[in-house]
Amino acid sequence: MGQRIARTWERFKQGLGDGDFEAAIEAIEAAVMALKEHYGSELLSVMLFGSLARGNKGYDDIDLLIVIANERGPAGELTRNLAQSVFGPLFLDTGQLFSFLLYSETQLKALKGFLPLFDEIREDRIVLHGSDPFA
């Protein structure tokens, strides 16, 4: 299967062309800012994928793949921390729902080629921050 080159956020935004995605765009940019603040230099990559990345106006939530430098504890605890400090406040501020996946760099490398969802991410991905782990 050919490797698609990731689209950049700025080009993707230009391509949307109308006001239907304004709230989502603001929420995504706020999410990236909040994640940078939360993880600092540990944050390696943030990517948008899923229905919104395909430009679907009927999207229900915003799918993000987040890659950090090191593992930081059990999955349940990591999810709860992110919900409390980043995605909960973002829902209150923007009204947008996020569905997020979080991996360390090592975990992501180990999983590439195994996860069907990664095929979808590879096809639709838009790099919002940092490097493109699928390049």
Partner: protein, 140 residues
């Protein structure tokens, strides 16, 4: 005998659903089926929000995002808004993850393995029960 208005009936029906979802979450917890606990916690949360919307005589949106935003619109200035949003943000991704054997966090997310910590499931259930009670109190 006067008939109970439809919206009120709907609110009560959703409230019953929320409590049944919590009961299912509890039964599954007792049987060590923690991914099921997570799944039903989310649906208890969603059902009680639907009850609260119906209680205000409003149509319940089908889409998740619209539903939770409608709840927020109808109940502005909630003293537990941050707690509500944090639980929503936590449960929403778990809803799907409890159904599929994806890979995440460096392992196959066979949900039976991913949510295999009793403490985590107990904690999620307790926080969901508290939230359902708080939202139910708005209906009084």
């Amino acid at each position: 005998m006067a008939q109970t208005p439809l919206h009120e009936q709907q609110a009560q029906a959703y409230l019953r659903l929320a409590h049944r979802q919590l009961a299912m979450a509890e039964v599954l917890l007792d049987h060590g089926l923690y991914e099921g606990t997570m799944f039903h916690c989310y649906h208890a949360f969603e059902a009680v929000c639907s009850a609260a919307i119906a209680n205000k005589r409003q149509r319940i949106p089908l889409r998740h995002r619209e539903k939770f935003n409608e709840f927020r619109r109808l109940y502005p200035g909630l003293p537990f808004a941050q707690e509500f949003a944090a639980l929503l943000a936590e449960l929403y991704p778990k809803r799907e993850r409890s159904l599929y054997a994806d890979m995440e966090f460096g392992q196959v997310m066979d949900p039976t393995l991913a949510y295999n910590q009793r403490q985590d499931a107990e904690d999620t259930l307790a926080r969901t029960q508290t939230m359902v009670a708080k939202i139910e109190a708005l209906l009084a």
